[in-house]
């Protein structure tokens, strides 16, 4: 049984106020030198069979159809 990861991130030009809130907190916690944080989502998709090209193509379709809104987000698919 293969596991495929789909990472979803807001497109670079889209404002991410959650990431901004996180980065502003860091100095108070003693962490210096962080210029920016952007928050995304990670999905782990478990397949019935192997992660062959057909299965990966279907996962890409799933990502495009549901997991990501490609109007505002980019995604990457990789086998774990």
């Amino acid at each position: 049984m293969a596991r495929v990861v789909v990472d979803v991130m807001l497109k670079p030009e889209i404002l991410d106020p959650q990431g901004q809130a996180i980065v502003r907190k860091l100095p108070q916690l003693g962490f210096e030198g962080v210029a920016a944080v952007r928050q995304g989502k990670r999905f782990e998709v478990e397949l019935d069979g192997p992660a062959d090209e057909a299965a990966l193509e279907q996962v890409r379709k799933i990502a495009e159809t549901l997991l990501a809104n490609t109007v505002i987000e980019d995604f990457e698919v990789r086998v774990l």
Binding site: E13, I14, L15, P17, Q18, L66, V71, I72
Partner: protein, 226 residues
């Protein structure tokens, strides 16, 4: 003549479906309860997608409802000219279903914002705004956590140049919406998405005004005159 029939879809987690139905009735039409899992619009003359937190906003607000069974009929109807109004979560569903361009993201201040909001109706030619005059200012409640309208530059330019921004926030932008956009319409003007809640401003007893009633009387006038 029979009253116009306006459907209100209930999704799992819809909150404002009853208020929307009540607004439809106060405006003089017959509300028809529609269910997300049915493939049936029951022959209604127009459809309202109400506010709320369908599916708990899981994944993205409106993302899972956009794939509800009844949305197949809503899409086919909308493309054939059926008037559709999405309020708040309903607006999010319409964007996720690609019936309207762009997307609604987390408010810039990260807070849930709930207050009476002054708006300007910039497009009084849509199916849902013809009872307003262009540039009319109204006050209706706004209440959302994911209300920041976002679209790419080309889409924004097209919306502006084609007059498809239906309403804009005045005084204070509650969520960081681009160009202060509170509502937009599709090219044909039959599909409208609005982040604030006209259905909560239809009676002086419970609303800040009765300014919201115009959305519902607009559609009824259009249906009666059709």
């Amino acid at each position: 003549m029979d009253a116009a029939r306006v459907g209100v879809i209930t999704f799992p987690g819809s909150l404002d479906d009853r208020d929307a139905a009540r607004a439809v009735r106060l405006a003089g039409a017959q509300p028809v309860a529609l269910w997300h899992a049915d493939h049936d619009l029951q022959g209604v003359d127009a459809v309202v997608l109400p506010g709320g937190f369908s599916y708990g906003d899981y994944l993205r607000a409106g993302a899972i409802s956009a794939a509800a069974p009844i949305m197949a009929e809503v899409k086919a109807g909308a493309n054939a000219g059926l008037p559709v109004l999405g309020i708040c979560n309903g607006f999010q569903v319409l964007c996720e279903a690609h019936l309207l361009p762009g997307a609604l993201l987390r408010n810039v201040g990260l807070h849930f914002v709930c207050r009476d909001q002054r708006l300007r109706v910039d497009n009084a030619d849509t199916a849902w705004t013809s009872d307003y005059s262009p540039g009319q200012e109204i006050v209706i409640p706004v209440k959302n956590a994911d209300g920041r309208y976002t679209a790419d530059d080309d889409t924004l330019k097209a919306l502006e140049s084609e007059g498809r921004v239906v309403a804009r926030y005045l005084d204070l932008n509650p969520n960081g919406s681009l160009n202060d956009i509170a509502g937009i319409t599709n090219e044909a003007g039959n599909v409208v998405g609005l982040m604030p809640h006209p259905e909560h401003a239809v009676e002086s007893l419970t609303g800040p005004s009765t300014d919201g009633l115009g959305f519902f009387t607009s559609i009824i006038k259009r249906l009666v005159n059709a």
